[in-house]
Amino acid sequence: MFHTQRMRSCPSSHPFLKNYVRAMACGGGPPTHGSGPDLACGKSLASLTATITVTRAACPIQPLPPITDPAALLFENNPRRSDTICLVPAMSTALSCLLTAATNAGGTPSVGSACRPAAYNRHLGNVWTKWVKELRDNNNPACAALRSEVKTHFNGHGLLRSQRPVPNSKHITGEAVDVTIRLPSAQIDTLVAGCQLRRPLPVKDRVHFIRR
């Protein structure tokens, strides 16, 4: 399937180097270049292998940092929560206007994300990075448990691998809302303009609204 082109092999896996390690572990002299791979010394090699196994047993990827912030914990315990309480007043008014206008137009709006405590937003970023960047492709058996845990976390938050939470989000300050509206884009922009809102990125982040 893939077009392949063989490159030079890793020096650490060179058969001669393996034989050298084995011979020295046996307490004998060094092998000569070209020695076969069957130098026997079960006991010493076993202890060497055990050392390597212990080294590889721990997953080198750090687990998610724990959440200690009370506000973040409140959100964490209800991941699908859409909290509009901490929106700034003008944004809250604008959101009410938008929801009414979109409903009247048949757009069945739903609020996906409103305000997020900074610590919770940081946690979302951590989960995204941990899953998408560190564990999604990882097949190290030592990391399997952590991988499973983080995947569950990622899915539980409704995160998308294609959309990364950003650390300096306007959601933190209560100045942004994410609203899905089932209407043509031009119609949405007309509606939001009447509510003193705008979409800064109508193509790349089309559910994200901020005040004009």
Binding site: Q5, S12, L17, K133, V166, H171, K204, D205, R206
Partner: protein, 290 residues
């Protein structure tokens, strides 16, 4: 003065060479990502080649994903601006705008509230197709954009390993195409006569060829002359664009025995950014036949 005694154990040279080889490998990046681009007029296609130099399998390559230049510990920089042709927030990249190996997929990573993004090519979750150590993945990864975005060819890429640690490495994209197009220009007429000061339309015939790009971008770069020009001697020339018709005045200084020589320069730039220039001349001779 006593020289220190040199230990010459037969193993020493073997160990030294092994260590040097290991050090050399450590210094070498674990992978290379090479790119070339093709301009088809209404779209630009970027092709990627991934070479795995390291000991780990590569499961994903993200173009425009630069983790070397962090804003802080919590952020990293994405580099791409232009979205793939036909990309949609809900449906992603259409199949017509991307190629991947079997069991791989492509998607844009679009941070919230951000203009910049990254393009990820990677194996589907659960699939086993990876780029093995020593392998080159060539001819499978491409993305089509409505117009050029240089970050797709001169930015960074991050490769992701299946069981390596660190789990990924960021590299500078390398150009697979480093050869400029071949360009030739001829002008008609090549001689303006009589030198009566009248404007004469001049047409450029251009031949361009490139090893990767079927449609290098042509630009009229400059028109200069061998003697001082008066206003209006050069007219209707749109510099910086593919303008092949302009007007030159059939004029020269009376005392200049060698006549006036207009030098017209065009450039051709392929979609990988390699640029060639070529010149042609239009002469207003001092005397006819010279």
């Amino acid at each position: 003065m006593n020289r220190p005694k040199t230990l010459k154990h037969p193993l020493l040279s073997v160990l030294t060479s092994c260590l040097l080889a290991a050090a050399s490998q450590a210094a070498e990046p674990p992978a290379s990502v090479k790119v070339y681009a093709q301009n088809f007029g209404d779209r630009v296609v970027y092709h990627y080649r991934v070479i795995n130099h390291g000991p780990y399998e590569i499961a994903r390559v993200a173009i425009g994903d630069d983790e070397k230049n962090h804003d802080d510990n919590d952020d990293y920089i994405f580099e791409l601006i232009e979205l793939p042709l036909g990309w949609d927030f809900d449906t992603g990249i259409p199949a017509t705008s991307v190629t991947t190996p079997p069991d791989w997929e492509a998607y844009m990573i679009v941070p919230e509230e951000s203009e910049v993004m990254a393009l990820a090519f990677g194996k589907k979750e659960g699939a086993s197709a990876t780029i093995l150590p020593g392998q080159t993945l060539d001819g499978f990864l491409s993305i089509t954009l409505p117009k050029a975005d240089d970050a797709y060819r001169n930015g960074h890429a991050t490769v992701y390993f299946t069981d390596g640690y660190p789990t990924r490495a960021t590299l500078l994209l390398e150009l697979a195409d480093t050869t400029p197009p071949t360009l030739s220009v001829s002008l008609t007429p090549a001689t303006l006569w009589p030198p009566n000061g009248k404007p004469v339309p001049v047409t450029a015939a251009i031949t361009v060829k490139d090893d990767y790009d079927p449609n290098p971008e042509i630009k009229l770069e400059s028109i200069t002359a061998s003697e001082p020009l008066l206003a209006g001697d050069i007219a209707d020339a749109q510099f910086g664009s593919d303008d092949r018709r302009f007007t030159l005045k059939a004029r020269r200084a009376g005392e200049n025995k060698s006549g006036r020589v207009y030098t017209v320069t065009y450039s051709a730039t392929d979609a990988s950014g390699n640029k060639a220039t070529a010149t042609a001349e239009v002469t207003v001779p001092h005397e006819q036949g010279k």
